[in-house]
Symmetry: C2
Subunit: 210 residues, 2 copies
């Protein structure tokens, strides 16, 4: 408490560094292509100052990934509770809409997550993999609750969640390079795909097989 001023200043500088890195990734650049000096320059600092905030470049990258995971998580959590009551059809569309909003509000961070999911550093991969696993599990839980609330027979919620998340990430990637009109079209298609998945889950639950 008494050391406030210095600590606060430090936290602020740390934020400036992360913001600077984020800005540099804005034009389609990947984390791997960011240089220490470049980030420092953008943040208005001497290159060596970064070492007062991150032990090395890997730690800086991990901080950026953590931030992206936080945004993903909070975007997807938004209005999650209300999903159970609105009925399956609307719930599916709103799920996709939430993901699209995240992709648009944090496009760089979305790209960061997808890129580093297969990146060179296993610390990055593990962090992202864990986050996606949580996302799948939470979605599966929501599906189970919603189905139970409607007194329907239990569906293969885990598989549905996995497929839906795969579809949405595919959507996010496809949306990166195209016009807004085409984006809407892609999002509608993805909505249909998730609906097909949910329908398929019901059939599966009823014992149907191919």
């Amino acid at each position: 408490m008494s050391e406030g001023a210095r600590q606060q200043q430090k936290k602020q500088t740390r934020g400036r560094i992360l913001d600077a890195a984020g800005r540099l990734m804005a034009d389609g650049r990947g984390l791997d292509s960011l240089g220490l000096r470049e980030v420092a320059r953008e943040a208005g600092l001497a290159a060596t100052s970064l070492y007062n905030h991150f032990p090395d470049m890997e730690a800086l990258g991990l901080a950026l990934i953590d931030r992206a995971c936080f945004h993903l998580r909070s975007s997807m959590a938004e209005g999650r509770r209300s999903m159970i009551e609105v009925g399956a059809a609307r719930a599916v569309r709103e799920l996709v809409a939430r993901f699209v909003r995240f992709q648009q509000d944090y496009e760089n961070e979305f790209r960061l997550l997808v890129q580093q999911r297969l990146g060179r550093r296993s610390s990055y991969r593990r962090r992202i993999h864990g986050e996606l696993q949580l996302m799948v599990n939470e979605l599966a839980e929501d599906v189970r609750e919603a189905v139970a609330a409607q007194d329907r027979p239990p569906v293969p919620a885990q598989r549905e969640a996995e497929a839906a998340i795969a579809v949405m990430f595919g959507l996010g990637i496809a949306m990166l390079d195209v016009s807004p009109a085409r984006r809407r079209e892609l999002a509608d298609n993805a909505g249909d795909q998730v609906e097909i998945i949910a329908l398929g889950g019901r059939c599966w639950a009823a014992g149907d097989r191919l």
Copy 2:
């Protein structure tokens, strides 16, 4: 024809360069981290010799991507014709199996495609995007043919194909970091997911909605 020896030698050297680059990517490294000198050294050439085969590093990368696309395409084409007769249940499993085989036989190339699908160079992105689009279209065509051959009502084949490919790429990515036993488990799950998608397509075709 008469200039054969020299041309043939050149083609062979070009192959050696691509092989060398492929070998260097074997330990989880990305295309972006490959250096000109490094590739040349691995290929047993002077660094500058690479310029006799590729105008710049971008062209080398594109050649690697082309090769990967070719392998993806031929892997997925393999046995494609027989899919119509075996019935939907087996066809779905074999589809996933073909993709898994590609992912295992050409793991580096699979990684290359997924990574560069969001890479910095738009030439790479376009190339890969076009290939995936073809893949989706061919799968959708197969689905339509198979459904027609069984006198079923037409399903939303394009949406099913998009969703199935998204699921399979998700599978391929998830398989990269895990044990063989876990890989089989993931592949089974993905098979279930694609089956759910196909079931959902039938419901959709019958006019069902959520």
